[in-house]
Symmetry: C2
Subunit: 335 residues, 2 copies
């Protein structure tokens, strides 16, 4: 298996990106196509012991930087590392691409070069986001804001495949995020989605409320990207606010180190990027794993591990099959 790694992606690239690739090559036994300016890549590789690490450098003279409008950057920088790396997947020269570069650019490159599967027109973003609920994923978290019921169902299918294939949960429970547990409670979107979910063949357990998110009531919680985005950002901010409060409260009562350890644990547990690390960009027609910008080598290596798992589990093929099966079930039931 060969994984294309964006050697220039991330706040700490190229150092941490290359180091992460080396770690992953050894730990997961995958071949790495390290994409970036050859001289820079070789310089970084020279810092490491490369025994048992199968790494080839693939040349790309440019790279994206945070803040550039993705569409513009991709037009102007046709030899950008993320483009070259994603092309390797399109051309069958790599099985997956991994990048910690600017999310907008990674998404744009994936859409432009790999496209999305079937009738899903935009990528779906989601995953575990709360350390207190490690077995709960939420979808969508911001890519799709005004949704139709069939889109929520797509998210639910994506989420089910995610939980089963990437998290090892054999029969993931699925719920709609709403404002009351009973059927009929919610906004129009939720009320129209409910019967669709019932007929989908998914392990649908009904509605959950905001109250149920931290308590693992469901493995897959479905909402539109507006609600998901607000909740996740609120969660991050509230976690930091409480961590600050805690620091003040405990100051002078516990050793500084112990306080710092606690507040850091709390911030990690409430910050999606830290909880999820890197993960697949869903609904893309190929395996593309995105790591957050502030990733260090360990997180980049882990994301490469996620990409390996995604390829082994045939994530894209499984998702296509599950989407088709759900559509057949709905057709049979006359929806």
């Amino acid at each position: 298996m060969k994984i294309a790694v964006d050697g220039m992606g991330g706040d700490y690239a190229p150092e941490e990106a290359v180091k992460g690739a080396v770690i992953a090559a050894k730990e997961y036994g995958v071949e790495i196509a390290l994409v970036g300016p050859p001289e820079t890549m070789q310089q970084e590789l020279a810092k490491h012991d490369l025994k048992n690490a199968q790494i080839e450098v693939v040349s790309a003279s440019q790279y994206l930087v945070e803040g550039e409008p993705p569409a513009y950057a991709l037009r102007q920088k046709r030899d950008a590392s993320i483009i070259v790396a994603t092309k390797l997947v399109r051309e069958g020269k790599a099985d997956a691409v991994v990048s910690a570069g600017p999310t907008g650019g990674v998404v744009a490159a994936a859409l432009y070069l790999l496209g999305t599967i079937e009738e899903i027109s935009r990528p779906v973003v989601g995953g575990p986001f709360l350390g207190f609920a490690p077995d709960t994923i939420m979808m969508d978290l911001g890519t799709n804001v005004d949704c139709q019921p069939y889109q929520l169902l797509d998210f639910a299918i994506v989420g089910t495949v995610y939980a089963r294939k990437m998290m090892g949960i054999s029969n993931p429970t699925v719920a709609l995020l709403s404002i009351g547990a009973e059927e009929g409670k919610g906004n129009e979107l939720v009320k129209e989605s409910y019967p669709l979910f019932q007929k989908s063949g998914l392990n649908f357990i009904g509605n959950v409320e905001g109250y149920d998110i931290p308590s693992c009531r469901a493995n897959v919680i479905i909402c539109d990207g507006f609600v998901g985005n607000v909740v996740v950002k609120f969660c991050e901010s509230l976690g930091k606010t409480i961590a600050n409060w805690l620091e003040e409260k405990l100051s002078g009562k516990l050793p500084e180190d112990a306080v710092r350890e606690m507040t850091e644990e709390l911030v990690r547990a409430t910050n999606a990027a830290d909880v999820q690390g890197g993960g697949p960009l869903w609904a893309v027609n190929g395996v593309c794993c995105v790591s957050h910008g502030r990733s260090r080598a360990a997180e980049i290596a882990k994301t490469i591990g996620q990409a390996k798992l995604a390829v082994e589990q045939d994530l894209v093929g499984t998702l296509k099959a599950e989407l088709a099966a759900a559509r057949d079930r709905l057709k049979e039931s006359g929806s």
Copy 2:
């Protein structure tokens, strides 16, 4: 000023409701019409020193209980304490009504007997809900789930009156809750509401994100009741989850009392009912203040204080005038 108090409303009624009425009569110097079964009311009153407390008992033979469908309960129990109390306001025999009874029943009684003002067809629910952001209120929190832009504007006007009249903030900042700070970011509802807010004459500062809720970026944060309800319930639950984590972390490291004090403070700061206590039911054509079901005497007394303030500040009249003024401004601007 006379305030009608539902003597049978709340989980700890009649004891705490009556005690709260006695405290408020003395503390705020308001006359109280205490509504309930006369014998029960007199029994409870007899437990207190009534010097300087102007309290008359108004007879109501029935009362609502938690879990009854409100419409059914109001049809079946025409002599329920909340109905009799609300009628006193309708008939001009009291200036405001206060109840800690089942919210659905209190709302239904208010709608049925007092109606809503102008073109607002349903009550608006909101207020401060996060102890870390005492000067931030959020609206709507669950009554209005599928909203039109003009409804969000109504919430913003209500919120502005709330912040100015009840919280003493002279020129409250107003923001739309969205998924990006820039104009044009958000779902259709937010995008359509944005220009309306700009022309409204409110102190509109643009969009805020979930991230900004705990940091007092705006005094009045506007969202539809679906989003608001999810956020507030998630906040309550996350607060409790972190409090449990904290208890475990600190166990054996700090005295039990100190730990309990901290976790209780955290739960209070993240639980809307505790932060807000009781407050006005907005858009009702009369002052109706709802206290949460688990209120004790102190909270009920405080809610009576809120009702007094609402009457003094002519909340209903001010809101009507502000709504009319905003509509005029929009008409002038051609919206």
